[in-house]
C-alpha cells in the first residue's frame, strides 16, 4: 500500500503524475461519498458529486500549493461542487418519499424486529430532520460529526474563524434538536 502522504501525492498530481490521483481516490471516495449523501440525502447525487470533485481536482490541480492540507482543499472543492449542483437544480434537496424508501433499504438488519423498528424509525427521523436544516447547518454538522475533521480544519474549509465554527456547531445542533422533536411529535400524533 502506498504510504505517501495525501499532500505529497497531490503535489505529484499537480506536477503531471496524474495517475497518483487514483491513490487519493481510493483513500477518500467513501468519506466524500458519505459527506455528500448526508448533505443531499441522495445516493445517486452523492456519486455524481464525488465524480465531479475528482474531475475538478484534475482541472484545478495547479491551485494546490505546497503547505496546503489535502483534506481541507478537497472539502473546499467538494463544497463548490455541491453549491454548483444545487444552483443547477435551483432548489435544495429534501428527502422525498422514494428516497426515504431507498435509504431505508440500506439500513443494516437487526436480529430483534422491535429494536430494529425503533432504530430504523429514529434513523429515518434523524435523516428527515437533518435534511430539513439550512445547508450551512447541515454542512457544519456533517463535517464535525462524521468527517473526522478538527474545528481548525473546518474553519479552513468554511473560510471562517474557529470560534465561528464552534458557535455554528452549537446552533446547528440546537436546530437539529428542535426539528427532530417536532418530527417525533408529528410521528407520535400520526400513530
Amino acid at each position: 500500500m502506498d504510504s505517501t502522504t495525501d499532500e505529497l501525492l497531490m503535489l505529484r498530481v499537480r506536477d503531471g503524475e496524474v495517475e497518483k490521483l487514483g491513490v487519493l481516490y481510493e483513500r477518500h471516495r467513501t468519506p466524500l461519498f458519505s459527506f455528500f449523501v448526508r448533505l443531499t440525502g441522495n445516493a445517486q447525487a452523492g456519486e455524481d458529486l464525488v465524480h465531479d470533485v475528482f474531475l475538478r481536482m484534475l482541472k484545478y490541480r495547479h491551485t494546490f500549493e505546497t503547505g496546503n492540507r489535502f483534506t481541507t482543499w478537497m472539502y473546499q472543492v467538494a463544497r463548490n461542487a455541491h453549491f454548483d449542483s444545487w444552483r443547477r437544480r435551483q432548489h435544495e434537496v429534501s428527502l422525498d418519499a422514494q428516497e426515504m424508501e431507498d435509504r431505508e433499504a440500506l439500513l443494516s438488519p437487526d436480529p430483534t424486529p422491535d429494536v430494529k423498528l425503533r432504530h430504523d424509525q429514529e434513523v429515518k427521523l434523524l435523516q428527515k430532520a437533518l435534511a430539513g436544516l439550512p445547508v450551512e447547518s447541515r454542512e457544519v454538522l456533517v463535517l464535525s460529526r462524521f468527517q473526522n475533521l478538527k474545528y481548525e480544519q473546518i474553519a479552513g474549509i468554511l473560510d471562517c474563524g474557529v470560534g465561528a465554527v464552534k458557535m455554528r456547531v452549537h446552533r446547528a445542533l440546537e436546530e437539529l434538536r428542535v426539528k427532530f422533536s417536532q418530527l417525533a411529535g408529528e410521528e407520535a400524533y400520526e400513530l
Binding site: 503531471g16 496524474v18 495517475e19 490521483l21 487514483g22 481516490y25 471516495r29 467513501t30 461519498f33 458519505s34 449523501v37 448526508r38 445516493a43 452523492g46 456519486e47 464525488v50 465524480h51 475528482f54 474531475l55 484534475l58 482541472k59 490541480r61 495547479h62 440500506l106 439500513l107 443494516s108 432504530h119 429514529e122 434513523v123 434523524l126 435523516q127 437533518l130 454538522l141 464535525s144 460529526r145 462524521f146 474545528y151 470560534g163 465554527v165 464552534k166 458557535m167 456547531v169 452549537h170 445542533l173 440546537e174 437539529l176 434538536r177 427532530f180
Partner: protein
Amino acid sequence: MNCDRVKELFADYLIGNLDEIAKAEVDAHLAGCASCREETRSLQTVWKKLAALPEERPSPELDIRFHAMLEAYRQGMKQADRDASPRVTLSDWLSGLWPRQPALQFAVAVVLFALGLLLGPAFTQRERNNTAGGGGTNDRALAQLREEVSNMKEMVTLALLQQSSASERLRGVHWSYQLEQPDREVLSALLRALDSDPNVNVRLAALDALQQFARNAQVKQGLLDSLPRQQSPLVQIELINLMVELKEKESVPVLKALLQNSELNSSVRERAEWGLQKLG
C-alpha cells in the same frame, strides 16, 4: 463562568476537547444552572443519536467512472505532448504534393474534381444507409462518448492555458480548436489569455481561436472590452480588423474612445480611423 461562556465552550466540551480546568469550570456551572444543564444534556443526546446514521458506501459503478475519466485525461495529456513535438503538419505534407507548374496544378484540380463527381454520390448513399439503420442505443452511446471526449478536451485546454510556459499556453489555445462548443470556462480562459497573457503570440493565437465564437455574447463583450486595454498594437490592429470583418456596430464607440487617447500608436490610430470609416 456564565451561561454565554458555557455556550462558547460547548462545541469543545461535546467532543472532550477542553483541558481539565476548563472542563471542571463548565461542570461546576452546569451543576448550578438547570437551564444550561438541560440544554447541554439534550444537545449531547442529539449528537450521540447522529452516530446511528449508517455509513454510506458508493457503488462499484463510481470506480469504473473514475478510472475511465482518469485514463481519458492521461490520454489527453499524452496527445497534447505529441501535438507539441515538431512534426510535419498535414498542410505541409499536402503543399509538398502540390505541383509548382500552373498547368500541372490545373490538371490535378480537374482529376480531383472528376473523382469527386464519381465517388461523392457513393459515399453519401452509404452514409444515408448507416443513418437509417442505426439503433437508438448506439446513438445515445455515441452522444455520451462525444460529450465525454469534449469534456476531456476542455479540461486539457484549460490545464494547458494555465501553465507557466508560453509554448504550453499556445498549445492550450490550439487545443481549443478541437472544441465545437466550448463552455464559459474555456471561453473565459481564452479571453483572459487575449487580455493579459504576457506573451503576445499567445494573445494573438487566443484572438484567432476566439474569432469562430465571436457571435457569442460573452466573447463579443470580451473582445470589445479588450480593445482599449491591449498593450500590443499588433493585437489591437487584429481586433479592429475582426470588428470590421464582423461589421460590429457596437465597436464604434469603443473605437472613438480609443482615438481620444493622445498616446495611441500611430498604426493603431490609422487602423481605428479606417475601421470607423468602414463601420460608419
